[in-house]
Amino acid sequence: MHPFSIREALLAKHAQHVVLIHFPIALFLTGVGFDFAAYWTKRSALATAAYYNFIVAAISTVPVIATGLLAWQFELEGQKLKGILLQHLVLGLVSSAMICLVWFVHFRSRRAPEQKLPPSCLAMELVAVALVAITGHLGGYLSGVNIPS
């Protein structure tokens, strides 16, 4: 095993979903941080940084959803989900939709002549952060990172 072997990384025995999920979470939370900072400081550079974070977060939700659904189909043979697995799936899809929606609202407002965000956007970002946090918590619980050593 070599830590920088691409072949070994791609063919790793662990699920790729648990690796890729960190990208949209980190990018989205950073984006929200920049957006709140831009709102308070009125600095457009921070708003731009938030926008680009949201773009990459929205794009990175695609492989995350794909690998999650593939893991469900291949490892569990697409069986009817229940309990934590079902909650994680539903909340994951809703969280991804919220991340894409936040990006879309920013995209629309940047294209508008006045370039002003709707006042509800920050509230929407907070709701999305809460959903991402709950989804991540359930994902962490499922993956077993919380088990006592």
């Binding site: 025995k13 662990h14 699920a15 490892e75 569990l76 043979e77 069986q79 989900l81 229940k82 309990g83 934590i84 697995l85 619980y141 499922l142 993956s143 077993g144 088990i147 006592p148």
Partner: protein
């Protein structure tokens, strides 16, 4: 005199029957005792069912040695769903087992069987069938 003789022979017949009956009881008990161990042996010959507990993200016991024909039952005692999948993905593969759900498989052929949880591939176990 004749009547007295007849009465005596009747009494001795009754006594004989009683003695034979008394002798038959212990022999019946012994016979029963002799049969019982045989039935225990038969029960012992039949491979017992074995349970593997899934708890705290591990299989317990992690390694098992069993006789061919033994049925192994896995029971999930974790709050998180787990699966039981043979390393070749073909021999046995359970559904996602929720808390207290079970999965059983009978190992008919001798050999070494390694398995894992497909949700948590670090969870592994081994069964040696003799």
């Amino acid at each position: 005199m004749r009547r007295l003789k007849m009465q005596r022979s009747k009494t001795s017949r009754i006594l004989r029957t009683m003695i034979l009956g008394a002798a038959a009881i212990p022999s019946l008990v012994l016979a029963n005792g002799a049969l019982r161990p045989r039935s225990v042996t038969a029960a012992q010959e039949k491979p017992a069912a074995i349970t593997v507990t899934i708890d705290n993200f591990s299989f317990a016991p992690m390694q098992l040695e069993i006789k061919a024909g033994t049925e192994v039952t896995w029971i999930n005692k974790d709050d998180v769903p787990h699966t039981v999948v043979s390393d070749d993905h073909k021999l046995f593969k359970s559904r996602a087992l929720d808390t207290d759900e079970k999965f059983s498989f009978t190992f008919k052929d001798p050999g070494t069987y390694e398995y894992f949880c497909s949700v948590h591939p670090k969870m592994t176990g081994k069964i040696v069938v003799k």
